[in-house]
Each structure stands twice: as C-alpha cells, then as structure tokens.
C-alpha cells in the first residue's frame, strides 16, 4: 500500500442556519476552501467521496446524484458513504484508501449536514408509524452515560466539566458554532436537563456546515503542499447495534478500532506518542467512555483524566481543542471535522489560538449509531 497525505483542508463557518447557501453551495464552499488550500481546482481532482448522515435531514434522497456537478464530479467517480454519526470519519478514510490503493492520485472528500432544513430529533422518529420512543441522538446515548455513572460511581459534576472544557476551547476556534463564550460549571449545572443525564450545555447543537479534505499520493503530495500531513492509520470498525448497549459501557468496536489503528501506526502508548486527539463527543459523559475505548486510560478511569486536567487545552494530552462536537455538530461533517482538526494540528495550522504546541502525531476519531460505528485516523508530520 502506498502512502497518502492530506494536502488540502477546508471547512465552513458552522452556524445553526446557513440561509445564504443551499446544500450544493454549502458543500462547494468547503470543497473550494480545501482546493484553495491545496492550490488545486476541481479539474485536478480524480475522484470525489462524499458523506452525510440520513438523507432525511435535508429531504434530498441519494444526494450524490444532485451534488455530483456541484463537486466537480461530472464525468468522474463519485462515491457516497453513510455510517451514521461516524460518516465523516469513514468518508475521509474512504478517500484515503482511494489514493493509497494506487488507483487515484488526488481525491477530494466532502462531508456535510444542513440540519436547519428539517428538525433533527424528528428525523430519528421518522417512519415509525404509531408512538415512537425514539428520543433523538441524546436519547440514544443517555442510557449508556447513565450506566457509566452508576457503574463507576463517578462524581456528577464530571460530565458537566466536559462541557466547560469544550465550550471554552471553542472560543479559540473561529469555525466553531458555539460563540457565546466560555461557560462555568455552574452555568452547565443550571442549564435545563434535556435527556438525563445530559443538560442543554452538555449537548451538541444542530449545525449547518461542511468539511472537506484533499488526499494525494506520496510522490506528488510534497509538491502540492509545503507540509503534507501523512496518514499512518485509517481504520473503521462496526459491531451489531445491540452490542454496544453493553453493561460495560466500553464500546467493543472502539476498542477494536483503536487497537488496529495503534498497531498500524506502531503506537504502544497513545498518550505519549500522540500529542493530542480530536474525538467525537456529542454529549458530555460520552467523552470518558471514549477515553477508555480508545485506550487513553484503563476502564473506569476516563473521568479521572479530565479531573486531573490531562485533557484540558493546556494539559499534557489535549482532547478536542477545537471545541469538539459539543460546540459544533453538522452531523455528517462532524466526523470529518475531527480528522481535519487533527491534521491541522499536525500541520501547525490550527487558527485562532487553538493550536496545541509541537504536535507531531495526532488522532482523529468519529463514532455513530449506538456507539457501534467507529473510525480512527492517525496523522503524522513524518512519512511512514
């Protein structure tokens, strides 16, 4: 397998309603920014991979058909990924393998969601007929968090502290949706409860936004960008839906995914060998479950990493310096934003003050479904 690198990165400024652009315009804005970053045009691209979560969000079925021309795919291959919330991550991974296979040299990948066109929580209940117990994304993940809290007897302010960290971090990310400033623990605790144990400030917003990346083959990547970001691992793992509602609150697919990703990158101690991570935390408590699933610490110890300040912006292993999914959630794009932010950190180009010093290797992670879909990429400043 040949190496491939990220040579272009672009994203929209994420907001709750992007009323000036339609879907096509919004994906083009991210794509054009990634192309500009790579100093390429649509004509230079060999293939396009797009991703978004359920088509019901925008009411456009199989949108790659309509969007093919908008993304410069006329006469070219275009592929559409959909793996629930992890889709942005799996889409970037797909684009990477398109290049790594040797079949294509330059691949554009775009992930998006325009949630303002419908209503997110309605989508989760759609098509059910009678009474729907569907309770949206928060309702799907809240029981897992509830179980985690009870299982490990975690102090109740630890979940809210994730929100304090991430919303504070978002202030340094000019693209983040959350613009209302840092929040205190008290602010979070006093915000309305939405899906016990997730309060309003502990829950992701619904955002309009898109993310885009350009991957290029190893021989041409250094000619395209002054600082190509190399991919050391690109792994997506899935398990049956019912599995991860497990009593261990440790998603097996996350564990399996991280294990393979570390093996591919030759990493044995992630918190030493990686300088930061962007992980998919749409709701506060999920963060700790992922710390454990991704092997940042032992089972039941995730919350202690935050308690000790390890994963704070100034800590020894910052997690989600961009503000994460809690601060910005255009669902289909959110997974790719994790990958893209990790790549930006390696490149040293994280804007607005959210750059972590001296990042040589970074991890991006996305999950979806009932925490049963996971995607991990590891980026490095050095060609493997």
């Amino acid at each position: 397998m040949r190496n491939a690198a990220v040579v272009g990165i672009g994203q929209t400024h994420h907001v709750s309603k992007r009323l000036d652009l339609n879907m096509a315009g919004m994906v083009r804005e991210a794509a054009q920014r990634a192309l500009a970053d790579a100093q390429l045009t649509f004509n230079d691209i060999d293939a396009v991979v797009i991703g978004s979560a359920p088509d019901l969000f925008e009411g456009v079925a199989l949108p790659e058909q309509w969007l093919a021309g908008a993304l410069g795919a006329y006469g070219k291959p275009i592929l559409r990924i959909h793996t629930m919330g992890s889709v942005g991550g799996c889409t970037a991974i797909s684009a990477f393998y398109h290049v790594a296979s040797g079949v294509f040299d330059k691949v554009l990948t775009v992930a998006f969601e325009k949630q303002s066109e419908a209503q997110t929580t309605w989508v989760f209940s759609a098509g059910s007929g009678g009474r729907s117990f569907s309770s949206g994304a928060g309702g799907a993940f809240a029981p897992v968090a509830r179980f985690y809290i009870d299982r490990w007897k975690v102090p109740l302010e630890m979940g809210p502290r994730v929100a304090v960290k991430d919303r504070g971090n978002a202030m340094r990310n000019p693209y983040a949706h959350w613009k209302k400033g840092a929040v205190t623990l008290e602010d979070v605790m006093n915000s309305p409860m939405l899906w016990d144990p997730f309060r309003y400030l502990e829950s992701c917003p619904t955002s309009d936004g898109a993310a885009a990346m350009v991957f290029a083959a190893e021989d041409i990547a250094p000619k395209i960008h002054r600082k190509p970001v190399w991919v050391k691992s690109a792994v997506a793992m899935t398990e049956s839906l019912t599995m991860s509602m497990g009593m261990k609150a440790l998603p097996p697919a996350a564990v399996a995914c991280a294990k393979r990703a570390y093996a591919d990158a030759g990493i044995t101690n992630p918190r030493k060998e990686l300088q930061m991570a962007e992980i998919y935390t749409p709701f506060s408590w999920i963060e700790f479950i992922l710390y454990e699933g991704l092997g940042f610490c032992d089972e039941g110890q995730g919350w202690r990493l935050l308690e000790e300040g390890v994963t704070e912006f100034g800590g020894s292993f910052p997690v989600d310096p961009s503000g994460g999914v809690i601060s910005t959630n255009p669902i289909g794009a959110s997974g790719m934003l994790r990958m893209l932010e990790a790549a930006l950190q390696v490149r040293g180009d994280a804007e607005g003050g959210h750059q972590v010093p001296d990042v040589r290797q970074a991890l991006g992670h996305a999950y979806g479904g009932t925490i049963n879909y996971h995607a991990v990429m590891i980026f490095s400043d050095t060609k493997p």
Binding site: W195, T242, M247, K248
Partner: protein, 166 residues
C-alpha cells in the same frame, strides 16, 4: 416589492406499506391477541432473544423455539426525554427505559410511568400495563407503559454478570 425568495418550502409526504415479516408478525399477533411477549433462543449461545429474531446478533446463528416471557422485568438503563419534536405523540417529559423481560436476555424499549422521573433507577423491577382498547400488535401502543412493582432492585453487579449487554 415583496421580499426575495430565500426559503423554498417542500412539504414532503412519502407513503410506505411496511410489513413486519413472519417472525415479527407472530410476535405482534401474540401482543395483540394474547397480551403476551415472546422470545426465541439462539441455537448456539442459547440466550433468549427479545424481541425474537431470525438470527442471533452475537453468534450470527439461527434461532429456534418460541418462548413465553413475563410482561414484567428489570430496568437495564433509561433516560428522561424532555425535548419536543415534530410529530411527537407522547407528552414530555417522559421516561424511556430499556427493560429486560423476565425469562429473556434482550431488552425492549418502553415508557415508564407511575413514578417520578427522579426516582427511576437502573435495576428497578417493573411490570407492563396493557391497553384494553383495540390493540394493533405494536408493543409500543398495546402496552401503555411499564410501572414499578415495588420489589427490591436487581443489583448492577448481577446485571453485569448476566451479560445483558450482549
């Protein structure tokens, strides 16, 4: 001059006729006609699937049997829904629990009522309250809700031991 058009309303209506499939239909008919919940057994791990299915998710193996379960069980985990959405048919806030029916290893999702949201616990014992009005075969509609029985909770350690997560 009127404001420019910037939003294009699209009121979509897509019709479907969804069939429950043979096994789910049999399950639904028992709910409708007998007020009973059935499961079936994995031929490999022997665990009882609820609701019944043609294959075990853990073993990727066929299932067998048709096993009557109790319409009472244990709260595996839960959340309280407080978010309104389009077309919502239940008044918020409401408690949604995953309930493992006695005799089974899988969970069904249902409402929990006759208890304050703040008092719901993992491990709580609950029982079904059925509707006597025209039942349709949908567990969501034919059981109105579950309610606590007042018996002692199942300890979380026992739940972990039983491996209900899988």
């Amino acid at each position: 001059m009127a404001e420019p058009v910037t939003i294009f309303p699209r009121h979509l209506r897509l019709p479907y006729t969804l069939t429950a499939g043979a096994m789910q239909s049999r399950f639904a008919k028992a709910v409708r006609d007998e007020k009973k919940i059935y499961g079936n057994r994995c031929t490999q791990c022997k665990r009882i699937l609820v609701p019944p299915d043609i294959a075990c998710a853990q073993c990727w193996a066929d299932t067998e049997g048709w096993i009557e379960l109790k319409d009472r069980g244990v709260v595996k985990t839960f959340t309280v829904m407080r978010v309104p959405f389009y077309g919502q048919k239940i008044e918020i806030p409401y408690v949604i629990a995953q309930i493992v029916p006695e005799g089974g290893d899988g969970a069904i999702m249902h409402l929990l009522q006759e208890v304050e949201a703040e008092k719901v616990r993992i491990g709580m014992r609950v029982e079904a309250v059925w509707t006597d009005e025209k039942r349709t075969g949908s567990l969501a509609d034919d059981i109105l809700y579950f309610r606590p029985t007042g018996e002692p909770d199942m300890p979380i350690e026992e739940m972990v031991e039983r491996g209900w997560g899988l």
